[in-house]
Amino acid sequence: MTLPEQFAKDEVIIIGTGPTGLVAAKALANANVNVVMIDAGLEKSSHTDLQRPSLARLRTDGNITEDERTKHLLGDDLKGLFVGLNVSPKIRLCTPVGSVSAYQKGNDIQSSGFVPIGTEALGGLSNVWGSCSSVWSRHEFPDDFPYDDLCASYRRLFIDMHFCGETPEISTDLPNMPLGSHFKGLSDRFAKTRPEFQKSFYVHRPLYAVNTGPTGCNQCAACMWGCPQSAIYNAADDLPVLLRQPNVKLLKGYRIDRLQRMEDGYVLTGISANGAPFRSRATHIILAAGALVTTKLVLGCLEKFAQPIRMENSPAFAAAFIDPNRLGKAMDPKTFGMAHLAADMKVNAEISSHVLFYDAGTQSISDLVRYMPFSRIGALSISSALLPAMTVALGYLPGRASLNTVSLNRDHHLHIQGALNDDSRLYFRQARQTLAKNMRKLGSWMLPGSFSVFDPGAEVHYGAALHQAGLCTSDGAIKGLPNMYALDSSVLPSLSEKHHTFSAMANADRIARTLIARHDLTQQIGE
C-alpha cells in the first residue's frame, strides 16, 4: 500500500508500530475506528529460528560447525562483532548492524552525554527488549492521574498477552519459570529473613511478557541473542492478526520527519524507505513513535525551537555477585536467559531501586570481562572459573534521578544532553553500598570493581518529556494541537525505577479507550 496524498477524514493515523502503538491500534480497531498505522521500518528485526540449538549445545557440541555457531551467536550480518559501546548487551547481540546509528541519523537525533537507542523496525524496541514488565503502583503517579483506569488496562493486557512471573502490586495467578540453580540459595535465604529486612529489600520473581506454553519458551538460555521461539512478546508478531481486521491498514517504510499544522488537520512530510520524499495530509494523528521521535515531532509541530525541556531516563547500573556455595559447580544447560529474581530496594529515604538478577552463564563472557579491570587473559580465566557462581545484577533508579534535556533546533534536529550530577552519583554510590550489604546478608558477595554505571540512555528506559514540559494532558492530548495525541512513554508523568514498557502499553490502552469513550476520534465517523 502506498501513502495517499490525503487520508480520509475518518481515518486515525498512528505513527509507530511499537508496543504502545499496537495496543492503541487494537483498542481503536475493536471500537470500529478506521486505523492507519505508519512505520519507518519494513519488517521486524528479530526472527524466529526454531532450528537454533540451545546455548549450551552451541557452546559445547563439537558437531556444530564453526559457521553455524558464528551465524547463531554473532548473527547473519555479524552484528555481534560490534564492540566497545557501553550499552545493554542485547543491543550488541540483537539489533542489526548499524540500525542504531541509522535510527539516530535518519531521525536527526544528536546527543552529548547520552546514548539514544532506537530501531527502525516493525514492532519498534520490542524486537530487542528483555520483556521484563512491571506494574507501577498508585504512588508513582500524580494524585489527579486516573490510576484505576490504568489498572483496568493492566488487567486487560494480562489477558491479551502471555505473561509469567509475579508482581507485588497486583495479585495474579501466572505460571513461573523454573528457578535456576544460581538463585535457589538466594531465594531460600531471603524467605528466612525478617519482615523488616524484606521491607527495604524485597526479593521476588519478576514479571515477564513471555509465553511459557507448549509453543513458547523452551529454556534454551539464549534470550540475549533474541528468542528463537518468539516466546518473548514482540509487537510485530501481533500485527498480522490485527491487519486481518478490515478497518486496519499498515504503511511500511515511511519515516515521518515533520508534522505541520494546517487549518483542517496536519501535513505529514518525510522520507520513504526507497529514499523518495513524501507529503500527505491527515486530520487525526496519534503519536506512538517512541519517546524521542514523538517528542521531536510534537516540538516541531508546536514550533518550540531551542527551548530545552527535561526528559527522564531511569539511570542504570550493573554489578556481579558471587555465591561461594556454587563455586566449582556446573552451569545450568537448560535455563531462562533473562532475570530469575528481582528486588525492590530502598536506596535512601527518597529513592528506591529495582534490581534484576541474571545467571551470568546466559550472558556472553565478552560482555562480562569488559567491565573487569584485569588483563584480558586474567579476566577471562577468573570469570570463566566464577561463571557457575556468578549472578549479574542490573539495577535502575527512578527517572527523577536523571538530568537530561532535549531541544529541537530550527532545522528539526533533536539534541539530547545527558549528564550525571553529584546527586545522581551519590544515589549510585548509595545503591552500590545498599545492594552489596543486602546481598551479603543473602550469602552473595559483590565482585570487587564490578559495579559499573551505564551512560544515560544506554539502557534505554526514557520518556516523560511531553508530560513534564506541560505539553500534553494526562489523556495524551497535545495542548494547542487539536486531534493530535501521544501515547508512548513520552506522556508518562514520570519514570519509575521499574521497567516502563508495560506501563506505557497499559497507559496507551487507557488513553485509546478514553478517546473512544469520549468520542473524541469517532464523532466525525457518524457524520
Binding site: G80, G84, A330, S364, R376, I382
Partner: protein, 418 residues
C-alpha cells in the same frame, strides 16, 4: 582530452598516466614510456638535455604535465643545468603551438634561497612560467604507491630500527597521497579555467615529520618507532660517511634530507578547494592497500593468540571475522605492536592498555571471536563440574598475577598506548 606527460616513468609520472588513462584521456609520453602502459600510450624519445622530437602531435595536445627531472652531480663552470634548458625548450614549443595549459611539477620548498639544490632549481623553473595558463604545482611530501623516490627512502628509513635519530623531527610536513596527487595534477591540466598560477598540492593540515615516520613504520613494518631528535649537521656527516662506504652506495641522499630541513608550510586550502581535492590525513591514507591487509592479519594473529592464551590456532574464518569486525567498528587503523609482543603474544599481559584505546576495543573484538570459536566456547563455559578447589586455585593464581602485574601494566600501557 589529450595530455602530454614528461617524466612519465618516474614515481609520480606512472601514477599520473594511470589516472589519466582511467579517465579516458589520451596520453602521449615525452621520454621513457612506463612498461605497464606501453600498449596504451604513444611515446616520443626525449631527455631533458636533448632537443625536442619534431613529429610531436602538438595539434591535438591540450595540456602538458611536466614532471621530468634529471638528477646530476655538480655542474662544471659554464655548463647549463639540463633541467633548465630542457624546460625552456619545452615551454617555447608549448607557446609556439598555443597549447592550452602547461603544468610544472614543483615543490613546496621552491624558493630562490632554499636549503637544497632542488628547491632552488624549481624556483628558477617557476620563474620561467608566464601567463595565466602556465601553472606550477608545489607538491608536498608524497607517500603511498610503489616504494620509489623519497617515499621509498622513508619506508626504508623507518624500518631500520625501532629507534630512529632524525633531524628536526617536529618539523611540519604537508603530505599528499600519490593518488591524490595524480588526481590534482590531472585536474590542473584539464580544468577549464584556473584562478591562480601557483597551487600547493599538499595537505592543508600539516603533521610533524615524526608522526609521518611513525605512521609509515606502523603501516609498513608494524613497529612502534621512537624518533630521537638529532642535530642536523651530525646526521649529514654520518650519512655522507655512510654513502662513501662500499656496498651501501647512494642509499641515503643528503640532498633529500636538506629538502626536509628547509620545508616551509604553505597554505593550500583555497587551491585544493578549487580543484575539488580532499586530502586525507596521512595516518589514514597510509592504511590503504595490500600492505595494511597483511599488517592487520598479523595483528589478528597476535591478539587472537593472546586472548586465547595460545589455545586458538587462528584459521581463515577467524581472520575474516576479525577483518569484518575492524570494519564494523571503524577500527581499520593499524595498532603498532612491539616486536616482542608479536613474537610472544602472551607478553601483552604485561602492557595491556588500561584506558579506552583502539587496542582495548580490538582486544574486545578478539575476545568475542575467541568466545564464539569451538575451542573458546568449550574452554570458557564450565558446563561440567570443576570442583571448588580447582576454582579457588585458579582465582588465587590469577589474582596474584594480576596484582603483581598491575603496576607494570600501569607503567607500560602509558608508554606504549598513550
Amino acid at each position: 582530452m589529450h595530455l602530454l606527460v614528461t617524466g612519465a616513468n618516474g614515481y609520480i609520472g606512472q601514477e599520473v598516466v594511470r589516472y589519466a588513462l582511467s579517465q579516458n584521456y589520451q596520453v602521449s609520453v615525452l621520454g621513457t614510456v612506463p612498461e605497464d602502459f606501453s600498449e596504451c600510450v604513444t611515446g616520443y624519445d626525449w631527455r631533458l638535455d636533448q632537443p625536442l622530437p619534431e613529429r610531436l602531435p602538438w595539434k591535438n595536445i591540450k595540456a602538458v604535465i611536466h614532471l621530468a627531472h634529471q638528477w646530476h652531480g655538480d655542474l662544471k663552470v659554464g655548463e647549463q643545468d639540463p633541467n633548465l634548458t630542457g624546460t625552456t625548450a619545452l615551454l617555447s614549443c608549448v607557446r609556439n603551438h598555443s597549447i592550452k595549459r602547461f603544468v610544472l611539477a614543483s615543490t613546496i620548498s621552491a624558493r630562490p634561497n632554499a636549503l637544497n639544490k632542488y628547491g632552488r632549481l624549481k624556483a628558477k623553473l617557476e620563474s620561467l612560467l608566464d601567463g595565466p595558463e602556465e601553472v606550477s604545482a608545489r607538491i608536498g611530501l608524497v607517500y603511498g604507491g610503489a616504494l620509489k623516490s623519497m617515499w621509498g627512502t622513508l619506508v626504508k628509513l623507518s624500518g631500520i630500527s625501532s629507534i630512529l635519530p632524525m633531524v628536526d623531527p617536529n618539523h611540519a610536513v604537508q603530505p599528499i597521497h600519490i593518488r591524490e596527487l595524480a588526481y590534482g595534477l590531472c585536474r590542473l591540466a584539464t580544468k577549464d579555467s584556473l584562478q591562480s598560477t601557483r597551487y600547493t598540492l599538499a595537505a592543508h593540515n600539516s603533521i610533524s615529520f615524526r608522526d609521518a615516520l611513525k605512521a609509515i613504520a606502523s603501516a609498513y613494518h608494524g613497529s612502534i618507532l621512537k624518533v630521537v631528535p638529532l642535530p642536523g649537521s651530525v646526521l649529514l656527516f654520518v650519512l655522507q660517511t655512510l654513502n662513501k662506504l662500499p656496498g651501501i652506495g647512494h642509499l641515503f641522499n643528503p640532498e633529500r634530507l636538506l629538502g626536509l630541513m628547509g620545508l616551509p608550510v604553505l597554505d593550500s586550502k583555497d587551491g585544493l578547494a578549487e580543484l575539488g581535492l580532499d586530502i586525507a590525513d596521512m595516518r589514514d591514507g597510509i592504511e590503504l592497500g595490500q600492505i595494511s591487509r597483511r599488517r592487520r592479519l598479523d595483528e589478528a594473529h597476535t591478539l587472537l593468540r593472546y586472548v586465547s592464551s595460545g589455545n586458538l590456532a587462528p584459521k581463515l574464518s577467524h581472520y575474516r571475522l576479525y577483518l569484518t569486525g575492524l570494519k564494523i567498528n571503524g577500527l581499520q587503523a593499524i595498532t603498532p605492536l612491539p616486536r616482542t609482543v608479536r613474537a610472544a603474544p602472551a607478553l601483552l599481559r604485561f602492557c595491556e592498555p588500561m584506558n579506552q584505546t583502539p587496542l582495548k576495543r580490538k582486544l574486545e573484538l578478539a575476545t568475542v571471536i575467541y568466545e564464539t570459536s569451538q575451542q573458546g566456547s568449550k574452554k570458557l563455559y564450565p558446563y561440567k563440574k570443576v570442583g571448588p578447589l580447582k576454582v579457588v586455585a585458579t582465582l588465587i593464581l590469577n589474582g596474584t598475577v594480576e596484582t603483581v602485574l598491575w603496576p607494570c601494566r600501569k607503567l607500560l600501557s602509558k608508554v606504549f598506548w598513550p
